[in-house]
Each structure stands twice: as C-alpha cells, then as structure tokens.
C-alpha cells in the first residue's frame, strides 16, 4: 500500500475546499442525507462531535464555495438554521472521491498493475 503514502503536493487536482479534514467530514455527513433533506445545526454538530465555533467556520467556507445551503427559519419563535448539501456540493464530493481513487490506482496499460 505505497499509495497511502502519496504526499499532498502530488495531488494538485483535489478540491481545496473539501480537502481539509473537518470540511470533508461535514460534507460527507451532509451527503448521508437524501437529496432535498435538511438538518439543523445542533443535530449536525452532535453527529460530527464538533464544537459549534469550529462547525460554523467550516460551514461558512462551504457556503462560500456554494457547496452548502444554510436556511434560517423560526420554530416556535426560536431561530433554527437548517443545513443541506447543494447539488454542486454533492457533485464536488463525488469528483473528489473519484480523484482520490484515481490517485491510488493510476490508470495503467499493464495488467495487474
């Protein structure tokens, strides 16, 4: 498994927004929801076991990239923020995963390589 030792420098095509542990975790957790489903901030925080500040920071970066949509609303007069992955966010995670797989198993003409 020499491939696992690939240095970050040789992965220039990986999406820098997702290629950060915390944001990758947030994106993967949101991708576990069915398309169209939304999750509140506290439930997502509980799911990820992240601090509120840390999660907010990363959500803002994901929102800036257009990967995450934040919907602010009220429930029984309490403000609630619902979070969901956008279509672009879901696509970005798919592309990122494909890119990782390609890095681990580079296409080769040699059989069994």
């Amino acid at each position: 498994m020499s491939a696992t030792g690939v240095a970050p420098e040789v992965m220039p095509e990986l999406d820098p927004v997702i290629h950060a542990q915390a944001r990758l975790r947030v994106t993967v957790a949101l991708a576990a929801l069915a398309a169209g489903d939304q999750i509140t901030f506290p439930r997502l925080q509980q799911l990820l076991e992240m601090s509120a500040g840390n999660l907010s920071t990363h959500l803002r970066k994901l929102e800036d990239a257009g990967y995450v949509q934040l919907t602010k609303t009220h429930q029984r007069r309490t403000p609630v923020t619902y979070i969901s992955l956008t279509r672009a966010g879901r696509r970005a995670l798919e592309d990122y995963t494909v890119a990782l797989r390609m890095l681990l198993t580079p296409p080769t003409e040699q059989p069994g390589g």
Binding site: H19, A29, A31, A32, L33, D37, I39, T57
Partner: protein, 219 residues
C-alpha cells in the same frame, strides 16, 4: 484520531489520498448510524408483545398445556406490553427525526401516521360489525384476522417505502398468519398470532441486529 486533532487545534493538515478515502468511509458510516433510527426497536418490542401478550391470552383458554392464566392477568400483561411497544416505537421514530426535515422526513411521518389511522379505522369497522350481533368466536377471529391483515399490508408498504425486502417479506408472512389465524379457530388463533406473528417480528428484529453488527465494508 486525526479529526480529533483538527477539532483541538482548529487547523487542518492535508491528508493523503488513502487517508482521505478512509476518512470518507468512516464518516459516512458514522453519519448513517447517527441518522437512521435503530430499526431493531421498531420490531423487537412488538415481537415480544405479540409472543407474550397473545400467548398469555391463549393460556386463558383450556388447552393441552398444564398452565392456565386468569383473564385479568393476561389482559394486564397484554396491555402493558402493547403500550410499551407503542411508546418505544414512537420515541425511536421521534428521536431519529429530531432536527431533520425534507422529503424523507415527510414520508416517514406519513408512514407512521398510517399505522394510527389504519388501526383507528379498523377498530371502528370491527366495532360497527360486532354491534350487529356476532357470535363470540366470530368476534375474536374478526379481530385477530383483520389486525394481522392490516399489519401485513402496512409492512408491505414499509418494505416498499424503505426499499427493504426483508420487511416486505414480513408483510407477506403477516398476511398469511392473519388468514391462518382465522382458520385455526379459537383459541388456536391466539397461538398462531403469538407464534407466527410474534416469531416473524422477532426474526425481523434479529435480522436487523445482524445487519448492524456486520463489519463495515471498506471503500
């Protein structure tokens, strides 16, 4: 562990491709476990309630078995077990849906209500028919047969909705059990509901326990 470090320091060290893939897989499974209700609790408590509750009612009749239960004792056991199953199912569903909204939530809530609505209508129909004057045995068989028929149909719907063939199979099994219970007569119908109905539910609960324990498939 690396994600914990990130949490502590608030800064991200880039991961290698292999580490990233492993993180995706781990996080995906953790998220699914955290989002999905524990389905074992949707079937297990009902299996126990059917087996012991209807089993107790069966034992209030003179049977070949050496045990004979008092009617009130069986009624108490059955009421407590079914009330517990209702509470466990409702709490499990509500907990899983906390902080979520969207099409999946709406579908789940509608499905949950279809049980309440279905059994309310079934009660009304059976009481209405009973009012016309039916022999006691017919009333008993009407309840066991129609209840299992409705339960079976709702599991067929649940299997279709949640794309779960095992649950769909349980629905078929409950339909067959319901029909058999009527032909078994009284008190055989209670034995059929307890053993076949309760057994099917417990088998389904066991299936979901095994599925939860199944080791994660690596990406």
């Amino acid at each position: 562990m690396t994600d914990r470090n990130t949490e502590a320091t608030g800064h991200d060290d880039p991961l290698s491709a292999g580490e990233s893939l492993a993180l995706i897989e781990r996080q995906h499974q953790q998220a699914q476990r955290g989002l999905e209700p524990n389905v074992v609790l949707f079937f297990g408590p009902w299996g126990v309630a059917y087996l012991l509750g209807f089993g107790a009612i069966f034992l209030t009749y003179p049977t070949a078995l050496p045990i004979r239960l008092a009617g009130w004792a069986a009624a108490v056991v059955t009421a407590v077990l079914f009330a517990s199953a209702v509470v466990i199912t409702a709490v499990t569903g509500a907990r899983a849906g906390r902080g979520l909204r969207g099409p999946s939530q709406a579908a789940g809530i509608m499905y949950g209500w279809s049980w309440t609505l279905g059994f309310s209508a079934l009660t009304a129909v059976n009481l209405g028919v009973t009012r016309l004057g039916l022999p006691d045995e017919a009333v008993t068989l009407l309840w066991s047969g129609s209840s299992l028929l409705l339960v079976g149909v709702l599991y067929l719907g649940g299997g279709a909705l949640f794309q779960d063939r095992f649950q769909y199979g349980l629905g078929v099994w409950m339909l067959v059990s319901g029909a058999c219970s009527v032909f078994a007569g009284v008190p055989g119908n209670f034995a059929v509901v307890a053993l076949a109905g309760g057994g099917g539910l417990l088998l389904t609960a066991g299936y979901f326990v095994l599925r939860q324990c199944r080791p994660a498939v690596a990406a």
